[in-house]
């Protein structure tokens, strides 16, 4: 556990010293959250869009951060970690802690600034929101580690991540409310984790929806997240 924390801490320090990372994970989504605050605050339009921004950037952040494994393999620190007397579960535990913490910190900053700087109208449903976000972050962590395990370079990860996340949000009925969407749009809105999370969060924050109707999709997210995570963790070790 102590070593997992060391690995997570070194990960944080690398991120904070990378200005591009900070702009990408906090600067850009903050500007977009601010821009969304000019949307009409009716029928959940604002909630949908600002929570969509959050959902989108949390996923991009998680996938990009997970791909740090690839960078570590390239500069040899990964091999050095494996040469140290640290169990593999402690190593991956460190990565998991790092990813979970950065995603939650990012989400909290966006939520709090939405509420206190940009006048978001919500004031309840926080417990449900925390549950849904945790499930979402878990599944995206799984996706990130899985992508890091099958792709060879960080720019490949970047490209795949942008594709998956952009399509999931842009075409997933998140930013542009669609009337009578076509079949393909409906399909994307149904299977995309981004679309699912954004819709679930909107319902929680606007209509006070509870978790009960979300149990099945959440189990699905946890299940696929766990499968991807397991496959990723296994493959990252295998590929030396």
């Amino acid at each position: 556990m102590k070593k997992s924390l060391s690995i997570a801490r070194v990960g944080f320090r690398q991120m904070f010293t990378d200005p591009m990372y900070m702009v990408f994970t906090l600067g850009m989504p903050l500007v977009m959250t601010w821009a969304m605050s000019f949307l009409p605050k009716v029928e959940g339009v604002y909630e949908m869009a600002s929570l969509g921004v959050l959902v989108m950037f949390v996923a991009l952040n998680l996938i990009t951060s997970a791909s740090a494994v690839i960078e570590e393999k390239q500069n040899g620190t990964w091999q050095r970690i494996l040469c140290s007397p640290t169990s593999y579960s402690a190593v991956m535990g460190g990565y998991f802690i790092k990813l979970f913490v950065v995603a939650w910190v990012q989400a909290l900053i966006l939520l709090l600034s939405g509420k206190f700087l940009f006048g978001a109208p919500w004031n309840s449903g926080y417990a449900e929101l925390a549950v849904v976000l945790t499930v979402y972050i878990f599944s995206m962590t799984g996706l990130g580690l899985f992508l890091a395990s099958i792709l060879k370079t960080q720019s490949q990860v970047q490209a795949v991540a942008t594709g998956v996340v952009m399509v999931g949000t842009m075409l997933g009925d998140v930013f542009f409310p669609m009337e009578n969407p076509s079949g393909i749009i409906k399909l994307i809105a149904t299977i995309s984790p981004q679309a699912w999370a954004a819709h679930a969060l909107r319902d929680i924050m606007t209509t006070g929806a509870g978790l009960v109707p979300l149990i099945v999709p959440m189990l699905w997210m946890i299940g696929t997240g766990a499968v991807l995570l397991t496959a990723g963790v296994w493959r990252i070790k295998l590929d030396r």
């Binding site: 320090r13 690398q14 050095r80």
Partner: protein, 311 residues
């Protein structure tokens, strides 16, 4: 006592055998040289020792602990200096060393003094708080060494630590090895530079194509090289066609050409030289430099493999 024991080690990548039935042992407190050209399998051997890779066959024992069975306990005894610096460029030297110390199980109390000690040994104390990306190549290599010895390992594995460094850093690295030896660290020193191995190592293993060709103390190996000397002749241009002519000369045991350098193994340089000269003149080649090497590991390697250690 043997600090390291390797038995019948095999490692293949696809069809290529990187390590082929390798066995040797390293005694406690010695500097053990692993000498071989690029691609000989040195780095692979080292990652089998450190537990980074698993052998297809065979056994590695470090300090009496089987690396395959009890890898975490074995890894705690080993320090690794990889061929390419494995450090976090965004962090300072000090932050890097703290992290590698923590991963190697140093307590908070031990950590501060271990970091200062390692910085002193490699001479980086006054650059310790700069970002590593700002350090020179030689300094990065020195930090790479510091990271390997942060936990005072019983066995330090160094993979070509002086490749591509400036003379000052190179000198510093060689001095570091001597100092660590004086403190009782067992060291495996991998290189394809004969001079370094001859200067530092108590015993040497020569390998090529994953196989052990010869092993022994320096005098033992030089004895195997026998009375052979090496003529190193640098020409402005060296056509491949003169090689068979040279090889056929009396007194020439063997000859190879690498990058316009003609290396000739001979039992008698005085008798071979005139004939070699004549061949050069007859082929209208231009001579740039000529050197006669006494029996060395280089000439032994040439004798064993018909190739030079140089790339």
């Amino acid at each position: 006592m043997a600090m390291l024991e390797i038995n019948n080690l095999d490692k293949s990548f696809g069809k290529r055998k990187a390590v082929d039935d390798l066995s040797f042992s390293v005694r406690e407190g010695e500097v053990f040289g692993l000498l071989g050209p690029n691609g000989a399998g040195k780095s692979t051997t080292l990652s089998l020792i450190s537990g980074l890779q698993r052998p297809n066959k065979g056994r590695v024992t470090v300090g009496g602990i089987n690396v395959g069975e009890d890898s975490l306990r074995a890894k705690a005894l080993i320090g690794v200096v990889p061929q390419e610096p494995a450090i976090y460029p965004q962090l300072s030297a000090r932050a890097n060393l703290r992290f590698w110390g923590e991963l190697n199980g140093l307590s908070k109390k031990e950590l501060a003094s271990a970091v200062e000690r390692a910085l002193t040994i490699v001479g980086l104390t006054d650059r310790a708080d700069e970002r590593c990306s700002k350090l020179s190549g030689g300094m990065k290599r020195r930090l790479n060494i510091a990271a390997g010895l942060i936990h005072s390992p019983k066995l330090l594995i160094m993979d070509e630590p002086t490749v591509g460094v400036d003379p000052q850093s190179r000198h510093h690295i060689l001095e570091t090895v001597k100092e660590l030896k004086a403190q009782g660290t067992t060291i495996i020193y991998t290189s394809h530079y004969v001079e370094e191995v001859e200067q530092l190592c108590d015993r040497v293993a020569i390998m090529d194509h994953g196989k052990l060709l010869s092993i022994g103390t320096l005098p033992e190996l030089l004895g195997q090289a026998g009375e052979y000397q090496e003529l190193i002749i640098t020409l402005r241009t060296t056509p491949e066609s003169i090689l068979p002519v040279i090889q056929a000369l009396p007194w020439v045991q063997n000859a190879v050409v690498t990058n316009d350098v003609l290396a000739i193994l001979t039992a008698n340089a005085e008798l071979a030289l005139p004939q070699v000269f004549q061949t050069i003149v007859e082929n209208e080649l231009e001579l740039a430099e000529i050197k006669i090497n006494k029996p060395s590991l280089e000439s032994l390697f040439l004798k064993l493999t018909g190739r030079t250690l140089r790339d």
